[in-house]
Symmetry: C2
């Protein structure tokens, strides 16, 4: 297993550098800093921003929790093979940086990033992560830029990673009960250790690359869109997209579930929820409206590198 301390330190440095980069494009607010302890072991540093000129609400959170492994972890196949007396003594360690940012301007997309390292005393350990984008209005150039940036980061490490992890994001960031994707996807990967052509160390370098890709990528998307004018109608649509975001996070998101089931700090876990969200009964965008165009693109298997729309 890699050194927990090295990974934890690297994640905290990443958290700092992302907050600093975001504060440079944010005029009216700074990130608060709240360290917290988990009663069963470990803790985190929650950094939240609210009521900014650019960022209406969001968090860039670090956590590193540890302790006796909760029973639900043994529902996974590879763990259930452990004899029960070993399950009772097993401990886990999970460290990561989680980000969700809800911009004020509906032309700026919502973004999410998470990278995490997990290990158990039974000997398993892995990396996971993902970045996905939820534009309130899909802008073709921004979508291509977002996916090309992720593809370039993946391509540096493995020629198959972008396609593989793009598909995984399509499947993961999916609101089944709405039959729609959360946004335009991105990349998602989990339980990454080593493979025939990639050592754990090489995968760790890829994982760090994803973390480092976040800040310049989102700052560029902010710069492109933050001065655009918007109307009440566009704010209303933003609130509807945000309510879908809340549905995804409360019904499906595995990070939220993991946090709730391991007695994480509730305000840190739910910082991802939007500042203001609207649910209208049976809302349908007007035919051919910008809202209808975005709605029509919220599906899996879109080619965002060479979009055909």
């Amino acid at each position: 297993m890699p050194s927990k301390e090295n990974i934890s330190e690297w994640l905290q440095t990443l958290q700092k550098s992302i907050c600093t980069a975001l504060e440079q494009v944010e005029e009216d607010a700074v990130f608060s800093t709240e360290p917290w302890q988990r009663p069963e072991g470990g803790g985190g540093i929650t950094r939240v921003i609210q009521n900014g000129a650019v960022l209406e609400k969001g968090g860039v959170n670090f956590s590193a929790v540890q302790g006796p492994a909760p029973a639900f972890l043994f529902a996974e196949k590879e763990h259930s093979l452990q004899p029960s007396h070993q399950q009772n003594k097993a401990t886990f360690y999970a460290a990561g940086v989680s980000i969700v940012l809800h911009p004020k301007n509906p032309w700026v997309p919502i973004i999410h990033m998470n990278i995490r390292y997990f290990e158990m005393s039974t000997g398993v350990y892995w990396l996971g992560g993902g970045i996905d984008l939820t534009p309130h209005y899909i802008n073709k150039n921004d979508a291509v830029f977002f996916h090309q940036t992720l593809k370039a980061a993946c391509d540096k490490h493995h020629k198959d990673y972008y396609q593989k992890f793009k598909k995984w994001a399509d499947d993961y960031f999916y609101i089944t009960h709405r039959n729609e994707t959360r946004g335009i996807g991105g990349i998602f990967f989990d339980r990454m250790n080593h493979s025939e052509d990639m050592s754990f160390e090489k995968n760790l370098a890829f994982w760090k690359e994803i973390g480092n890709t976040f800040a310049p990528l989102y700052v560029e998307l902010i710069q492109r869109n933050k001065e655009k004018k918007y109307t009440e109608n566009e704010i209303n649509w933003q609130r509807i997209r945000r309510s879908r975001y809340a549905e995804f996070n409360l019904v499906y998101d595995k990070g939220t579930k993991f946090g709730l089931e391991t007695n994480g700090r509730i305000e840190s876990i739910l910082m991802s929820l939007p500042p203001l969200a609207a649910w209208h009964y049976n809302y349908k965008p007007a035919p051919n409206s910008a809202e209808a165009q975005t709605q029509a693109l919220l599906k899996k298997e879109m080619d965002w590198i060479n979009p055909s729309f």
Copy 2:
């Protein structure tokens, strides 16, 4: 088993009479009426109101769905005893009226009512139901009136029902991750068939009583509060309480879960979600404020018949 047709007809009559009663206190809006069919069998009539002077958003929904029993039903202990070839052929029938109403004025409480009948071809059948109240601001007199009305309805049928079902509501309408109740509770019961001193027919009469109690109870609470003046600050608190309501319904509510897992009509299931909800990071009401007083009362085992506060 009782006659499905009789129960279904009675529920539809109840739905109509509740909508009519609510429209009499609502000046600016009426309930829409949308019948829908479930591909696997059955359907419903969704009746929704939006943008009223009294009711900002809400639904009074009837549904009666049937078909092959989904696998998750057999996770329940009494069903898992069935041999698997019988599980494969089993069918279910579920009929009910479900109500959630989000008033515009924060001095009027949110209300929920559900009564349901369930049967399976394996021979089991039961009644379930509940009413619970979520005041944005807890008003002692209204709380006593609400619980006394429920107690009187219960007492007509069985001396133990109010205490038993009030406790069940405390446990059911609980937001575990927030360590708070959704509101001031009410009554909740499930899997009611017959017992030593109550035949199924007697329980059916109790169940109908609960359905009939709803309209006069909520109309009275509307009349008492709908003309009260409110401020931006009170609207803001209303939106925070509504976001907790959304958390409960998306994370814990069994009716929502059942609807999503049986491929119910999604817009009918999620009509319960609030028109506009706010999530602020780590919001704490000011000490001794009206909001802090309400927050302090959101706990189990309150005596709402003789409150001590």
